[in-house]
Amino acid sequence: MSRLNINTKLVRRMLVGFLQDEIWKVGAKKAVLGLSGGIDSALVCHLAAEALGPENVHAICMPYKTSNPESEAHARLVAEASGVQFSVVGITPMVDAYFDQFPDANNMRRGNKMARERMTILFDHSALYGGLVLGTSNKTELLLGYGTLYGDMASALNPIGDLYKTQVWQLSEEVGVPKPVIEKKPSADLWAGQTDEEELGFTYREVDELLYRMVDQRADTDELVAAGFKQEFVSSIYGKVQNSHFKRRLPVIAKVSGRTIDRDFRYSRDWGK
């Protein structure tokens, strides 16, 4: 049995407790999250509903004109299953207004802009409802850098950032995410027919097995190759983790004083909470 298997009841309890404790202790009661129709945000939505009560969770679906209509339908399905507050805020007018000035922009720029447009909507609703924005990036995409900096990677709290995609699937079964959402192919849904695994060039199960050994168990390349992973695959994934590390850190501050933020000025974020 793979070591990636988790005790889903235990993890559910830890993550529900995490959301309650970290949200309540800053004096908030509510949470805001983007619901894409995919499994990661569906899982976070269910966990938040359980932690805070569904009436305190505002899930916002933010489609663009090229988004698959099935995504919005799945977002509604998740909102109904979890009982949370649901609204739809389309991003087509804002995104198109911008790219009218840059008609030659490629898919990457357009995808990043959409992710950042959604982020501004979530943080605006955070102010509207007095709720914290929940992140929905999993450990696999955080490690690979498969996300937009200051876009979908931006949040106040992320309950699933220490779970690999494979573990997201397991926990989603436990908390009752609707079957069609669990079973469909993961997609960033930037254009029709896009799937994560085609774009990445490997399956989540393959890369999770590798990342778990590489990151969690600190296996070196020799050990990984002996375990059956191709040398090129190992080097390519190590490179992705290394080259995306800037996305997982705060901006670098040039040190000139004796006490620089995050270098020798060190406090927990929960300082005083």
Binding site: R3, F18, D21, Y267, W271
Partner: protein, 282 residues
């Protein structure tokens, strides 16, 4: 002497000494109302755990009003509690105090400061330099702070120094979710039960709950009999007060049936340790 202990599994606020003191006083009052003779609180109960640069701001001198308040409260119940201590020469320690009958009976400064993985204690705190057992109303006690317990020599020394009850104050982060039980919980229960059995001592283990920057402290405070059996256990992850009765009869029985402490040969241990020390120093 037979006695009743209250394990106060609380959720301290990070860096809020006044709030934490109020919480501790309230919890100890409840323990008094429940006729407990001893109240045990977690490591750094007065301050929270991931303090980093807050250490100097939350540190207390032994003559501070907060310490005086707990000392005063101990006229009605014995109290073991963790805090950051600052000395007159501005050294900072992760300390555990034992208050009894209105006095500071014993102070233990954590010796083994974990500085690896998610821990960074030695960056901010000074290292204690001794393990000493001490006499209380409840017999001879050995105080340990969390990581101290993971070094075999620490509980061993305390037991050789005559402790029959080991009291461990802890702030243990929960991690490891690929098994039936939480990985950290399994590891700690193995440790406390094996220690109790090896040294035919009671072990009182008090861990905190709550989250700091996403790290969840798992609670699960428990009492182990000298036989190694867990006789009482608090829930995991939730605040709780666990009451347990400890009797001399069970200690007596275990020390008769397993006279391990009596048979332990300190002379061999000392001689071999001296030899190892000499060989290492060469």
């Amino acid at each position: 002497m037979d006695f009743s202990v209250a394990l106060l599994q609380i959720k301290p606020k990070l860096g809020r000494v006044a709030d934490n003191l109020a919480l501790i006083q309230e919890q100890v009052e409840q323990a008094i109302a429940q006729k407990a003779d001893l109240a045990v609180l977690p490591e750094l109960a007065l301050t929270g755990y991931f303090l980093k640069d807050l250490v100097p701001e939350v540190a207390l001198t032994l003559d501070s009003p907060e310490i005086a308040a707990l000392q005063e409260l101990s006229k009605r119940i014995s109290i073991a509690v963790g805090f950051v201590e600052v000395t007159a020469d501005f050294q900072f320690y992760n300390s555990a105090a034992w208050f009894e009958a209105g006095e500071l009976k014993h102070l233990h400064r954590k010796v083994y400061l974990p500085t690896y993985g998610l821990f960074d204690e030695q960056r901010y705190l000074g290292r204690g330099d001794r393990f000493r057992a001490f006499d209380t109303k409840f017999g001879r006690i050995g105080l340990l702070v969390c990581e101290d317990m993971w070094h075999l020599s620490a509980p061993y020394l305390l037991a050789m120094d005559g402790a029959t009850t080991l009291v461990c104050l802890s702030s243990s982060p929960g991690r490891g979710v690929d098994d039936q039980a939480l990985g950290t919980a399994t590891a700690w229960r193995n440790l406390t039960t094996a220690t109790a059995r090896f040294l035919t001592c009671r072990v009182i283990y008090v861990n905190r709950v709550g989250y700091e920057d996403g790290v969840g402290f798992w609670g699960g405070s428990h009492v182990v009999a000298p036989s190694g059996e867990v006789v009482a256990a608090a829930p995991e992850f939730d605040s709780a007060t666990l009451l347990a009765s400890l009797t001399d009869a069970e200690l007596r029985r275990e020390r008769i049936s397993s006279p391990l402490v009596r048979d332990e040969n300190i002379c061999i241990t000392l001689r071999e340790l001296s030899r190892i020390d000499q060989e290492r120093s060469c």
